[in-house]
Symmetry: C2
Subunit: 333 residues, 2 copies
């Protein structure tokens, strides 16, 4: 058998699964809840309060990200962040991530190394103590990152979408509409005219607002720690805003059998973008009056169920969010 | 907007994410460990012994299965089974599955309905009490099923690969080489001559041994319950045989810093197939002498570490298993 050519940054197709896994695992940190880390058939994670919160969310090349726009680091960071936000939205503390990678063989080793760095640093920045405890690696023509996040409720009851009560204050922690702004910058400024093919991002061409929006889209930083804090402070309902405030507030209203009434003046310079824009993963929560904790700002109130799930300035709104099955067209580039 | 054409079995691309999810969720059962099931940001699963065992494994169309050969039901069943086996191999009892689906829009609703049926029935048959508690749905040109399984150790220590001790008996529960035999039937009998394109399976063309092998490949039934049983019985090391007995026994030997010596006469009619064939997800375990529990059959012994990780009939063997990065060629059909 000919010896493999030496290459400082080999193609994944020239490596074995074991070689790729070793490169990834050398970049994972040990979490404070990790009882048994990567390398066996399964990991073991502490669940001190006798239950575990679990969620899964996947990023697929095309509908969810483009390699022309996202680095491996960006992708690892974002895949961690969106899953951590779902754990936080239950009022739990994230304890562990499991990462299933399906990767084309024409990517290079440095890509997955930076991906692992993104996971590690997102955990360190957003959810200290949480770490990647396991994963899976397989080959696919479509780069796919499926993450499962685990969390601990620290003895509290989970905060669902269904607990909002008439008279509660509706509040939010984190950004609204920034990630969508970032996406519009990418679609508007960094695609080939005519074909729509994504082009590499030239950061020097961006204003500071656009740079911040791009950061919110590529490396979102939801306020993960505020999830457990809100639960302790008495949140009656909570969820993360992944598909846009309007759509997600409607979901909370429907689950809680109430009407949610928002005040457009609290939604920043561009209320429509705040209502429609997804992917910021802000925390949307309901609190009893007078119990709003630090980090959350009021944006509305809970009313008895009326004809509409959602009102903005007392009027029904028709703002829809993102639906991959309806909205994504792989032929459109 | 024109109304959607009515179709008894619509294309996924003509449905919203919510409609597809409702069809899937109506087919999930509630598990005995489920504290909060699907529908919120995350699920909550009981972890009565204060820790949770967690693993993830992905099936990708192409390297892991073909739609010409696997039904939706087969795919759901297999995706459940391979993950349940990893939980069992730690000596744990499976409690919950999370299922991330990336599905092309040109598949039909009935496909994901049958996929959900496969998950539900595999849990009922192989790991009663375990159930799908959450999931994620996104669109992709490559059908990808990423599953995370959770389990409970019921107060026991996890059984890793690293605990085999000199003098232990090496034993196995479940089939060896049957799934590989099934794969060879598919590749040998149900592909178009010349192009290699997979053809639908004609069951009537198969003998009974071939049918059983096909079943082992498409709907494996590893002995999940024997994992916790083996741990209780004192197993010192355990893993599931996913990549072939030779490769996986070598991994156990390396982790335990011992040599594993197998007896070919215990490996059935086709010892080479038993050594090389992956995907049966049998349980490979080490037990102190005289402590072999029911359901496990002896196939060798643990010796002090020598020049080789693995011996068969006292000789080194050169049998390799499956490596997706080296062995899968998407152009070969």
């Amino acid at each position: 058998m000919p010896s493999r050519p030496r290459d400082a940054d080999p193609l994944l197709g020239d490596l074995s699964e074991g070689e790729i896994l070793r490169a990834i695992l050398s970049r994972t940190a040990r979490g404070s809840h990790t009882l048994l880390g990567p390398g066996d058939d399964a990991a073991v994670v502490a669940a001190p309060s006798g239950s575990v919160v679990a969620t899964t969310d996947t990023l697929v090349h095309g509908p969810d990200f483009r390699l022309a726009w996202s680095s491996g680091y960006d992708l690892g960071w974002k895949a961690a962040a969106v899953n951590l936000a779902d754990i936080a939205a239950m009022g739990a503390r994230p304890t562990a991530l499991l990462v299933a990678l399906a990767i084309p063989r024409d990517l290079r080793l440095s890509f997955v190394e930076r991906l692992a760095d993104g996971f590690r640093e997102a955990c360190a920045a957003l959810a200290p103590g949480c770490a990647v405890v396991g994963g899976d690696l397989t080959v696919s023509d479509v780069l796919t990152v499926a993450v499962t996040a685990l969390g601990d409720l620290e003895g509290r009851a989970p905060v669902t979408r269904a607990g909002a009560r008439v008279g509660d204050v509706i509040a939010v922690a984190g950004e609204l509409g920034h990630a969508a702004h970032g996406l519009s910058v990418l679609f508007g400024r960094f695609r080939e005219t005519g074909t729509g093919v994504p082009l590499p991002v030239d950061v020097s061409a961006l204003g500071s607002g656009e740079s911040a929006a791009l950061q919110a889209q590529l490396r979102p930083s939801p306020p993960i720690g505020l999830g457990a804090f809100a639960a302790t402070a008495g949140a009656t309902a909570m969820m993360d805003v992944s598909d846009g405030l309007a759509l997600d507030a409607r979901r909370m209203a429907a689950a809680s059998e109430v009407t949610i009434a928002l005040d457009a003046a609290t939604l920043g310079d561009d209320p429509l973008r705040a209502l429609a824009g997804g992917e910021d993963h802000a925390l949307l929560a309901a609190f009893p009056p007078g119990m709003l904790p630090s980090g959350f700002r009021p944006i509305g109130e809970v009313r008895a169920r009326g004809d509409h799930d959602l009102l903005v300035d007392d009027a029904p709104v028709d703002v829809s969010g993102w639906d991959p099955y309806r909205d994504w067209d792989s032929t459109a580039g």
